[in-house]
Each structure stands twice: as C-alpha cells, then as structure tokens.
C-alpha cells in the first residue's frame, strides 16, 4: 500500500504489480507519506491489479479501480504505471470542483507562475520538461489547479509524461533529467515519465501567482517566435482547455477573467529548445 502526498490531494494506492511498485518508489520518492500518516484521509483510493480472468495466462492485463469501480477498460499489463497516471488524471479532473482546472503545464521562476496550455501534441510537456531541467520549478505537467478565491496556482507535483521523440530530445539534452521505464505501444505511442526534481517536491505546498500564459506550438522548421495574444482570445482558449469550467459556471468565467486580466499572454512557436529556454529566462529576468 502506498500513501502519496501530492497536495492538495492525498492518494492511497494498493497494488502488488512489481513494475508499478518500482515506478512509484522511483517517481514519487519524495511524495510517499510515512506509515504513521496513513490513517489520515485520502482523496482517492486506487487499486491497480490484474483482473481475475483466464486472459492472465495468455495476454495479461491490468485494471484501474477507484473506490472499487472500474471506469476504464483494462490495458496490457506492461502499461500498468501509465494506466495509474492516466487514471489519476481522470480522478482529479472528474472529481475536483473546488478549484478551476486547466489542461496545462505550470512552472515557476522568481515566485511567478508560467502556464503552458495546449492541445495534445503542442509540445507543452516537452517545453515543461526542458524548463524544469533548466532550473524552473515544476508545479504540474498535466493540469493547472487554480484557487478560485485567491487565483493562486496550486502545485500538484507529479512525473512529467513525455511521448515518442520528446523522450530522446529531453534525455539527450539534459543529463540531469531522470527517466523511468519506457512504455511501448500505448494509445499515445511510446511513453516515459521524467521524475520531478526533489526541490519541486520540497516546495509542493508553495502556491504562486500567475504571471504568464503561453500557448506553445512545436513546429520542426519554425524559428523561435513569441507574439502577444489578445486576452479575450486567451480566455476563450483557456476555457476550451479546462476540465471543469462549465461546471463552475459564472464563477469559472469570473476567475478566468481575473486571471487573464492580470497575466501577460502570448503564443509561442519553437523548434529549438535552447532558444526557448533562453527566451523564457529573458522573460523571467524582466520582472
């Protein structure tokens, strides 16, 4: 049994699958709660286990259980850890209504947050991993969690999920980037997780105010280009990238208006990570 502390959420995970146990011990090394804390409340009770069917003898599978229920079809056993990560994303996105949730990576520098929203394939996780490997603090790779009263970004420090070519790009460019196992032939192609730096876990209770919203787009032949984006259009795109904007109704609208009004908004096209990192460093220095 694991008790994982990723404020503002506490996760209880039960599994006897060795690959998951190894990955959890590696990726969440600094987030595992001591045994004496295990009687405390957990937000999500998850179990990752092989379904008890005859299939386990010729094509073993793994199932994701939340409160004993199975919201997903089983996956191949080899994808057990990514299944946990995807399932936990779903748990947070579909059960959290006290915060505004955006599909975005969030990093911090100089106590100011940078949100990187984007549709799958836009290059946000690659950029996030590059920035985190270059000294920015990781708040979250998958979702921006926003306090609706204070507009602060709340860290949810978890592994950065990288796919296909971006795995090699980051591992070859940053010797300090620590990767787990590669999972082949998933629905998203090859997936590997980058371990968040220890410092990001240590600071996982430190919330940050938003400074920049940047919509990244990776284009293989594109020179680095940062252009200002109208705030109204930024809000519309953030709403489209939100998990629970519609559920929050007018509160979500007003939170996004306040958030965007206080931020500098850009779209960003890039192909060279070094140039991208330099540019964001320049932005951070302008404070």
């Amino acid at each position: 049994m694991f008790y994982i502390s990723i404020p503002p959420f506490d996760v209880q995970l039960e599994t006897d699958i060795p690959a998951v146990i190894n990955s959890i011990n590696h990726m969440y090394q600094y987030a595992l709660k001591p045994v004496e804390d295990t009687e405390k409340f957990s937000d999500f009770h998850i179990r990752i286990a092989s379904p008890s069917s005859i299939r386990k003898y010729y094509r073993p599978q793994v199932q994701f259980y939340i409160d004993g229920k199975t919201p997903f079809k089983p996956l191949p056993l080899s994808q057990a850890f990514p299944f946990f990560e995807w399932g936990l994303n779903w748990c947070i996105a579909s059960h959290t209504y006290q915060y505004l949730l955006l599909h975005a990576a969030v990093v911090e520098k100089g106590n100011q947050a940078l949100i990187l929203p984007g549709y799958p394939g836009a290059g946000k996780s690659t950029l996030c991993a590059a920035l985190v490997s270059s000294g920015w603090r990781l708040l979250s790779d998958e979702m921006a969690v926003i306090d609706t009263k204070t507009l602060e970004l709340i860290p949810v420090v978890r592994p950065i999920s990288l796919k296909n070519e971006s795995i090699n790009v980051i591992s070859e460019s940053f010797s300090n980037a620590e990767f787990g196992e590669s999972f082949l032939d998933t629905a998203k192609g090859t997936v590997s997780h980058m371990k968040p730096p220890k410092q990001s876990f240590i600071q996982r209770n430190q919330r940050v105010q938003l400074k920049w919203v940047v919509f990244p787009r990776y284009l293989a032949t594109q020179s680095t280009l940062l252009t200002e984006k109208e705030k109204g259009e930024t809000l519309i795109e953030l709403a489209e990238n939100s998990f629970n904007y519609n559920v929050l109704g007018s509160q979500g609208f007003n939170v996004l208006c306040d958030l965007v009004a206080s931020a500098r908004c850009y779209k960003f096209e890039y192909s060279c990570l070094d140039e991208a990192i330099d540019l964001f460093q320049t932005l951070a220095n302008e404070q």
């Binding site: 109208e230 705030k231 109204g232 259009e233 809000l235 519309i236 709403a239 904007y245 519609n246 109704g249 007018s250 609208f253 007003n254 208006c257 965007v260 009004a261």
Partner: protein, 88 residues
C-alpha cells in the same frame, strides 16, 4: 417589446476585448464592442429597439438603417444564445 438581460449573465471587458458568459447556454463568447455596448445599455434598464437606436445614435456613425439592422440582428442572436430575453 422590450429586452432585458437573462438572469446570471456575466459580461466583462478583459484587455481590449469584450466577453460574455451565458448561464443558460453555458457559452463564453467574444463579442464586438458595439454589441457589448448594447448589453451595458440593457443592463441599465430594459430597452426597446427604438430606445437602443436612440442611445447608439450618440456614439455611432452608422446610418439610421445600418444602426437598426445591426441592433435587430444582434438582439436576435443574443436572444438565441440566452443572453437576453424579450419582455412582452
């Protein structure tokens, strides 16, 4: 026939752009500044097409027919989107 805002309608100017959120349709819309002006006028008090034409005459260089067309089309769209409602 007069028009009033639907309950729970939210509208804000953010930067240079104007945004409207309808609680009824759950839609968030970017609207033109003149359409936004209509919402502000209707929020002040329920309006008829004639009173809106009159109010907009002070701030727009439209011809009378263009102004009336714009207001009618915008009100029709806003009604469809659940932003405003008719009071008979």
């Amino acid at each position: 026939m007069r028009y009033s805002l639907n309950e729970g309608l939210q509208y804000r100017q953010v930067g240079t752009q104007c945004l409207v959120y309808s609680n009824q349709s759950r839609e968030t819309l970017l609207v033109h500044s003149m359409a936004f002006k209509l919402i502000e006028l209707i929020n002040d008090a329920p309006q008829t097409i004639e009173s809106l034409c009159e109010a907009m005459a002070n701030i727009q260089a439209f011809s009378v027919s263009e102004r009336q067309d714009f207001i009618e089309v915008t009100l029709e769209k806003f009604t469809d989107l659940g932003i405003i409602k008719c009071i008979h």
